[in-house]
Symmetry: D3
Subunit: 325 residues, 6 copies
Amino acid sequence: FSGISTFAHLEYHKCLTTPSELYDIAIIGAPFDTAVSYRPGARFGPRAIRAASARQTSFRGYNPRANINPYADWAKILDCGDIPVVPVDNGAALKQMTAAFAELGARTPVSPLLSKPKLITLGGDHSLSLPALRAVRDLYGPVRVLHFDAHLDTWHPAKYPSYWSSEQSRFTHGSMFWLAGEEGLLSNASSAPNVHAGLRTRLSGTEDWDDDDAQNWVRISADDMDDVGTKGIVEQIMGALGTEDPVYLSVDIDVLDPAFAPGTGTPEPGGWTTRELIRVLRGVEGLNVVGADVVEVAPAYQGVGEETALAAAQVVFELLSSMVK
Amino acid sequence: FSGISTFAHLEYHKCLTTPSELYDIAIIGAPFDTAVSYRPGARFGPRAIRAASARQTSFRGYNPRANINPYADWAKILDCGDIPVVPVDNGAALKQMTAAFAELGARTPVSPLLSKPKLITLGGDHSLSLPALRAVRDLYGPVRVLHFDAHLDTWHPAKYPSYWSSEQSRFTHGSMFWLAGEEGLLSNASSAPNVHAGLRTRLSGTEDWDDDDAQNWVRISADDMDDVGTKGIVEQIMGALGTEDPVYLSVDIDVLDPAFAPGTGTPEPGGWTTRELIRVLRGVEGLNVVGADVVEVAPAYQGVGEETALAAAQVVFELLSSMVK
Amino acid sequence: FSGISTFAHLEYHKCLTTPSELYDIAIIGAPFDTAVSYRPGARFGPRAIRAASARQTSFRGYNPRANINPYADWAKILDCGDIPVVPVDNGAALKQMTAAFAELGARTPVSPLLSKPKLITLGGDHSLSLPALRAVRDLYGPVRVLHFDAHLDTWHPAKYPSYWSSEQSRFTHGSMFWLAGEEGLLSNASSAPNVHAGLRTRLSGTEDWDDDDAQNWVRISADDMDDVGTKGIVEQIMGALGTEDPVYLSVDIDVLDPAFAPGTGTPEPGGWTTRELIRVLRGVEGLNVVGADVVEVAPAYQGVGEETALAAAQVVFELLSSMVK
Amino acid sequence: FSGISTFAHLEYHKCLTTPSELYDIAIIGAPFDTAVSYRPGARFGPRAIRAASARQTSFRGYNPRANINPYADWAKILDCGDIPVVPVDNGAALKQMTAAFAELGARTPVSPLLSKPKLITLGGDHSLSLPALRAVRDLYGPVRVLHFDAHLDTWHPAKYPSYWSSEQSRFTHGSMFWLAGEEGLLSNASSAPNVHAGLRTRLSGTEDWDDDDAQNWVRISADDMDDVGTKGIVEQIMGALGTEDPVYLSVDIDVLDPAFAPGTGTPEPGGWTTRELIRVLRGVEGLNVVGADVVEVAPAYQGVGEETALAAAQVVFELLSSMVK
Amino acid sequence: FSGISTFAHLEYHKCLTTPSELYDIAIIGAPFDTAVSYRPGARFGPRAIRAASARQTSFRGYNPRANINPYADWAKILDCGDIPVVPVDNGAALKQMTAAFAELGARTPVSPLLSKPKLITLGGDHSLSLPALRAVRDLYGPVRVLHFDAHLDTWHPAKYPSYWSSEQSRFTHGSMFWLAGEEGLLSNASSAPNVHAGLRTRLSGTEDWDDDDAQNWVRISADDMDDVGTKGIVEQIMGALGTEDPVYLSVDIDVLDPAFAPGTGTPEPGGWTTRELIRVLRGVEGLNVVGADVVEVAPAYQGVGEETALAAAQVVFELLSSMVK
Amino acid sequence: FSGISTFAHLEYHKCLTTPSELYDIAIIGAPFDTAVSYRPGARFGPRAIRAASARQTSFRGYNPRANINPYADWAKILDCGDIPVVPVDNGAALKQMTAAFAELGARTPVSPLLSKPKLITLGGDHSLSLPALRAVRDLYGPVRVLHFDAHLDTWHPAKYPSYWSSEQSRFTHGSMFWLAGEEGLLSNASSAPNVHAGLRTRLSGTEDWDDDDAQNWVRISADDMDDVGTKGIVEQIMGALGTEDPVYLSVDIDVLDPAFAPGTGTPEPGGWTTRELIRVLRGVEGLNVVGADVVEVAPAYQGVGEETALAAAQVVFELLSSMVK
Ligand SMILES: [Mn+2]
Ligand SMILES: [Mn+2]
Ligand SMILES: [Mn+2]
Ligand SMILES: [Mn+2]
Ligand SMILES: [Mn+2]
Ligand SMILES: [Mn+2]
Ligand SMILES: [Mn+2]
Ligand SMILES: [Mn+2]
Ligand SMILES: [Mn+2]
Ligand SMILES: [Mn+2]
Ligand SMILES: [Mn+2]
Ligand SMILES: [Mn+2]
């Protein structure tokens, strides 16, 4: 509870405006939430996740599951603060985020083990994955995506109500993976699919699956957990993504059940437990993750006990453990 | 978040006072909560469940688990508003609810697929199942009941503290199934039992089971889930109830663990997860459900994230999916 | 707690899509909140205010302060539901709101006492006053505004951070009165000023007052209440606005202290009490109010006791009492 | 925070079932809330007020406003626990409360300074004033009532919706003073009126005042505070009630504004502050108070900071100070 | 909801200051929380657990899982209230708790079935296990410990930040089992280990395990539940502890996931469900439990639905069931 | 909502460990709360106040009441982060805070307008005023104190319960001004008194006033506000303290009523409104304030709308405005 609230008490620099500031892994906030369809509030997600990470420190940061202390190993990890993003014009915001991710991703890493630094973005709503993927594509070409979410987020903009018909309305937290596919940011070889995991929401109809198939996604539903367990889920993911191709890993906190993560914008009953999600994340540590985000934490809707932000901070810790390992 | 708050944005009519209003399935609120033994507040349950259903719509209402969009199929589904019920005289309230269910249940359905319309009641406390069953019995004769609950709700009125000795005190949210049995509303052939599922509360003693046995109930405990899983639970239920006999399906939200449904009057630690309950509900879709309720949502006790009402709205969605399928 | 949640149990019609639906006073929701600078969430304001109005009814609707029951007098008052408004494109949303207010304001009233119906809008963020004023100007010409708020809301768009530089970023909940002034919607004769009341926020500097002066506003600060009391405030307002000119009355709920209205986006400590605000509203009942709004209720931030929405519903009740009187 | 939760750490006895237990002043809980018209939950009021009194102790119990430590003076004050009251049959509950108050009020006091002990009841909803007044009348004859409330609570049962027409529905938290008047429990000489203070709710119409006048009440509205201040209110009360006649003092916590007491069933914006109420209570310490209650604390609706129950516990402390002085 | 709030409505006596008061099992609160490293507040744990136990009563206290009503069997169970403990000097507080446990544990039991009474302590923070174990050791010699927790709590004081270097700082809720080991309170034969269950927190490094090994602990992680289920966990515990040796059973409520127990000081995502914990507790009922505690309930961080305290009260009920059986 | 959470987005430096870092005014957190007698949690006060200051910025920081923008004037203001303070040994913590304040207060200011820098401490509990005053005395000699609080905080340690008898127990949030007086940190000339304002709590008896008188305090009660208004309070304070002598200004947030500041440890009903407090603070801007603190913000007890921390952040803003003016 002591000290300025950075992620895990990491050193803080305004990396965006300090080009000389280098790192291997940067934690970066994207306090943007005006591309949502229901409850806003994820603009306070970065603040909440940082606050909930306060018990993570380098001197007691050993992860028994991963057998590593990510804060005390080879990687220089910084908290780079937040991307300035205008809350009243999504078109402008998208440009701001695109520029920021490009700037931060292109910097030279500190360690010779990496060719490019890795960014973990704290959302903000899920739409930020589009500008984040633009930066990743610039560095690696089209990538594979591992997407934990109750929702597809590959909705064709035409699936929204008719009064959402403006050009700017195409960019939302439900369509950004569809847009990413259209922009060529994602792998589109059927032998190299992307993966959704934790799905359970209502759809427009099976035509949503057609759109999703057309963009080369494999779908793992929340209920699959009951049938194959965390091990089965891990096998499906690793089988689809392998250990070589660069992967962008995106965690929408609503993949968790509302009991575990009520502090989110579009909660869907029937999700995974935090223990299940962590187990899956540890199971896929062999992936070649080149960037990641944890999104849709809307703290106004969490309990006073901060259960949602705590879960998100734990996800970040597990991602860091895997990246450093 | 837009528009007057009806269930799933369904069309709203004051059906009770508009005899010409017809439907196949009616959602009806029973804002009654003065038959409870502990925390009151379920009178605000219908309002809360409607609010939590706001992300359910006909244009994105396809249920992947059931392979159907219940809002865009053969059935005309209306939100019929709430039954007027006096909150200060349970005897009078019971008469009001009895009359209302009789009126609404006897109407002619719109679709030729049905001989009688089906009602899904949003509670309100669990005692409303008694007047609802009276209406069902009038239409179908004695029915079978599938009852999800932490509690038996077949308590003999004599099991209450001695100062609950008045005639009116016999009608409570813990005794209404016993009363229903006494009134002959339930099947009483031992070959045609009723089913409790999710039980885990404290009892007066094994004599509670004697009373329950005498009224022809099969008991599935919450802990059975650990041993047989959702599939085993489904098999037990289907084995007991079959696919022919008319079934009244009653979901006390306290069947869920307090982590998933803290917004209820008599929470019992150690319950099912929402994912387990949904899986069971989907598994029993072959039942001949002729009426249903979702009760005991007391929103003052839920979190700001509305997890309890969201779970209840999801239960209604699954019930609708099964009814329409 | 019973019945579908319309404002004060008023009759509900989708007036926008039912041109034949007539009224003297329409309650209309504008669930729009993406023009805010800090906490979003006011899109749930209309729902919250309607819920908090549940104890207002026509059969016990007599207002002792005003000596009238506004729900049982000459005026036909309807709840017209919500304006459909896209949450991800403020430019499109502004067009949608502009069209809706124009449509609703131009209808023929039921009573011969009125030449035009009156609209009371439930916000939503404060930016909705711009499209509402456009409709009012079309009917009455430039009007006078009585504006209760902790904030000026006449900020020149250039006063925002530099990264808010897009065209669309000019339209916010802090600039809409400045825009209204620029569009000629407000009176600009110095003998016919507009009035702010309850001001107390930080400024860019005294140049904010210059901009405000240029648009012909009188400023009453929150602290003035200590010095002149509610009577003094009333005198200042009536002295400035008179009883003849058409007035648009806009209540930003953050005029109240955060103890009375924590459920808002940009709370400012040191505000008025609800009793003071009500007293002032009753004191200015002689104004010729032709339209009104109650905005910035963000219920995620209120307590479980709903104090903020209750205050807002009371404000609407007082406005209705004055309009009907 | 230490020790079993009795009021102000007072000694606890089950007085009702221990006739030998004597006291000068008894604190007694009446956990009854099924006579309410809107939010239930006041059954948890006694528990909440006791918890909020935890910082009151005899060793630091000196009241500087009253110049006395009521816990360390002549009076033996006990916490007598709660009256057992059935929550599902208001007719039976009324009998139970009537018997309990009669039993407790008729006991011999410990101190020779008193001829009868005094009871302070923690509600529970306001309807408990009827059985409490029955006991008081038995001891003193018809008494005067000083009633702090946003509401009249002298509503004629016929003023309720038509579906509240049963005999039992006549007894509610809005009609109990009317019933008390009808039963002859209150003074009915126009020279010896009863007093309402803090009124501000909506009415059926001016006929509510006629009923109220007929039962000999003086009405002080919440807004009168602005005009005459606490001193003026005190003068009006003392002028009406004097210092001789036995007075029953009843504090409905909703006399406070929802900012100060959101944890109540029928909150009304625009009420008094706690400081104003305390000042008035101290100002009327010259009254001959023979019994009192503090009612309508519904803790599910208060904040986590317990502001409502704290205010109620403070009211009890001030009442005790006056009684002992 | 009725009556003074003792655990399960048990009879209350101030046992500490009433040496003549005898019992078989005593429930005792230790409202101490100043040995915590993060969120304080567990001083209100005893009050919260008692409140949440209000639906437990002797007349409906039959535990179907255990086939016994612990409140209506051979054992005399009392609520002995709270230990007075100074909140501003941990050294003094440790002495106070040590003296209290010694006094209460040494009393003669009522039933001939016991040679010593058993204490179940309601925390308070986990550090209370040290004074509790001192008392147990005095009666039984070094004992075995079964410890449910997300955390090891055997941290060597030197593992804390350097500014925690004072002598008094050695006693914390993370070091008390290490201190207990150093004091010789625990079994230290490798054939007679102690057991941690539910572990999942971050560590200083593997050297924490070395310290833990040196004090003879077996470690069961939270994730082991996925692999071996509740039956496997039970087997591991029973295999390690047997049915003969006296066991002290300590339940840190943070062994549960934050969804089930957000109301705690150092929550760790990824924990057990309440159903899993209860199942394990029932499975180990064959242990020879001579004392127990339920700690780290910090109610300010739980939801309004009290889920955390409900879980804790249920744990106490299961422990009582096992002790009485 | 954007950026790392420092107070008002001020530049952040770890001043304590960076002796070269200079400033005119430093904001410093003291996350210490183990000297409290009731609800702990103020260790999270600094974090909460910083979060609630997020809408304060230099580019819109003009204070209309003071006619100055404190963030854009002559003074260099830094956020110096938090003092490391051990939470489990108050003796050690007192030494740590004493050393930290001495170090920070003795640094050379940046502006020639000051001879010493000024510290504004964010608490933490009120006991931190003792170490803060030690540092002030070292620089200025004994000072005058202006103390806003519901409580005296000059309690003689002997006034605590007998089990608080240890040496370390003398240092609490209720005794630290008594200790400061004993240590000679405060002015003790009767012509140069210290001032309490806002008092309203219960006492041990009038002997508390004797102790207070002996240490040269003037007492202004909360109720005095009703009689003399903010102007009268200001006159009393200025009359007692003058404009020359160095003054330490200490604001215990519980001076506000629980409606305005429920997020505190020992709330007392009947306090001032935030508007009143701000008005008084502005009125005393002529004092020669050399140091200040804002204490006892315990955010776990505030509402989700953060009203308490917002009030505290506003107090800091007003203090900064006066210091810079
Ligand atoms: Mn999602
Ligand atoms: Mn998503
Ligand atoms: Mn139940
Ligand atoms: Mn039930
Ligand atoms: Mn505003
Ligand atoms: Mn505004
Ligand atoms: Mn009332
Ligand atoms: Mn009342
Ligand atoms: Mn732990
Ligand atoms: Mn522990
Ligand atoms: Mn204080
Ligand atoms: Mn203080």
